[in-house]
Symmetry: C2
Subunit: 359 residues, 2 copies
């Protein structure tokens, strides 16, 4: 098995990507731990919790199940995880494992970051989308007034990615995860982008899945290693997210998946880039691939002014104008400030284009 | 003015100790900040908040007042600080200032550590006790089931210590702070210990106060620089706290001050050390100084078994036996595991000795 190493400022941690790892977690623990608390959600627990527990039978293991979905990233669930950790007698040498998708990783990770000022933490992602959030050390919960506003940078001790757990994902979840892989490819590897564009998601093999995840994680970790705290190049990872997040907030979390809206956001970022840099990007190729693979591309009728207002609420904006990640070419991202007037124009023509479904 | 520098793993930060600094905070800001949120409590705000705000009149400044006392370190107040930060439009380049004692520093510091995964943070201690907590980067709130269980290591950008704000402290608060200075002296500087023992707290000059604080902070920061995460020498800072914390939990927070109970804890640590190492320590000197300076030394009747049970709840213990900091001599601390049976013996004879008031 190829083992990726990610270098965070505080430590270097391994990322294991392979089949069947969930049965043998003990083998991959990087330290001795006095006790282990597995946090998972109500869906994942039914499928994989017993396997993971059996693979840790030589340890003192506790489990805590949180609700599935974004609502688990609340301050109440956060406090509840702490209560559980105390009740189980966890100490500073203990470990919290996040078994699940991005929500579980974020909530359990922020609890691990703050319980007794930080205990051991291992990510076991069970979605494709979580390849992104499980690497890079960002953990957070939501405030009623915004996503991920309360959190830390807290790199895990290890990421253990059993790709067999991805077989129970719905088609929608596969699409959601692949949009982030496409984003990573567009940021750093034009060949990888071409490879993805020739892949039908319905016929993925385990080997292809492992390869794509490994490539995506490598791109992400290379960027994060250069800029853990997101003061420069890490911002590139927001490619497609300026519009994606705004749409997510407007259309309601859960109806469309994060990645599906990022897919639309990537198209928008391409169109803006083409106009700003007077260049041509593989917009049609991506559009066709998204459509062929079942990504929903028909948005309800939205007012560009409302979208703009949501974009400006994005926490990454620190002054009036919206900062967007654009592409000079595939593999050549750049930060750009786009004025409100321009953005309204771009949004209007983009929404029209999508509505026409010009293919 | 002497400027101390403290080297944390993530950054090096200055500690300013001087009169009247609160009027000129702008001069000591280490970076540009987009906005400033001052967190203070209902008592401190009456005395010093206006001064600090005036000294920052060239910035966009907001203020938020939390309750005085330990109850402010709750999850609800923590969330409330986040709400305030969002409402004021703070972003990642903003600053949170903690103006107050240890409680304000801990609560505001943990909010700063977690708001948008970490914003600027400056400690402005207004108690002598807070010389200890404001340096070293530990921030936390309480869980219903224990103190400081939810927190981070988050070094400040600077510590700005206006010793003039210490003049409004009650005698009890002065005693509380000086117990930690005595502890630091005992850990690392026998001359400083002698100096303190010849000092009457009622006749402190500003110059003496500044000198003592500077010496205490230097000892603390030297220890913290060697072991930020408390895996080795930082544990020495718990000298006197094994019994001190247990008594605090039993006698109720607020009736006795933290430092007053640490004073008793230091006496106890000396007696245990004398027996364990068959040595003689300046127990009588410290006892007399504490008594002469008005430290309450008469405890209510307590069962040693109850005290032992509380000691074992201390979060620093990670196995059955209690870990205590002992002294081979003034300036020579050592960690030791003390068995339950021994501790019960020591506690019994110590409580008897205190009750007799053998002077």
């Amino acid at each position: 098995m190829d083992v990726l190493k990610v270098q965070a400022s505080a430590k270097t941690y391994p990322v294991y990507v392979e089949e069947n790892l969930r049965h043998h977690v003990s083998r991959f623990l990087p330290s001795e731990y006095t006790a282990i608390l597995i946090i998972t959600d109500e869906h994942v627990s039914n499928c994989y919790l017993e396997d993971v527990k059996q693979g840790l039978s030589d340890h003192r293991v506790y489990t805590h199940i949180i609700p599935a979905g974004e609502k688990a990233k609340s301050i109440d669930i956060f406090y509840e995880i702490h209560t559980k950790a105390i009740t189980c007698g966890l100490d500073r040498q203990s470990l919290i494992i996040a078994l699940g998708g991005g929500v579980v990783g974020d909530a359990a990770g922020f609890a691990a970051a703050t319980f007794m000022r930080g205990v051991g933490f291992i990510q076991m992602p069970t979605t494709i989308l979580a390849h992104d959030s499980s690497v890079g050390g960002k953990v957070a919960i939501n405030h009623e007034q915004g996503k991920n506003l309360i959190g830390s940078f807290y790199p895990p001790d290890a990421v253990i990615y059993d790709i067999q757990t991805l077989h129970t994902l719905s088609k929608q979840e596969v699409r959601s995860g692949y949009a982030e892989l496409v984003k990573e490819a567009l940021l750093a590897d034009a060949n990888f982008f071409q490879e993805l564009m020739s892949q039908r998601l319905s016929s993925l093999t385990n080997r292809q899945l492992a390869e794509h995840l490994t490539k995506g994680i490598r791109i992400k970790s290379t960027i994060v290693e250069q800029d853990e705290r997101e003061s420069s190049v890490r911002k590139f990872l927001n490619l497609g997210h300026t519009l994606g997040h705004a749409l997510e907030a407007m259309l309601g979390y859960g109806k469309w998946t994060h990645g599906e809206l990022v897919g639309i956001g990537l198209l928008f970022a391409m169109r803006v880039s083409e106009k700003e840099y007077a260049t041509v990007l593989p917009f049609e190729k991506l559009y066709t691939w998204l459509k062929d693979n079942g990504y929903p591309l028909k948005l309800p009728v939205l007012d560009p002014h409302d979208i703009l207002a949501k974009m400006k609420l994005d926490k990454k904006a620190f002054n009036a104008a919206v900062q967007m990640v654009l592409l000079k070419d595939a593999g050549q991202p750049e930060m750009a400030e786009v004025s409100d007037a321009e953005l309204l124009d771009f949004l209007e023509s983009f929404l029209e284009e999508l509505a026409q479904d010009y293919h």
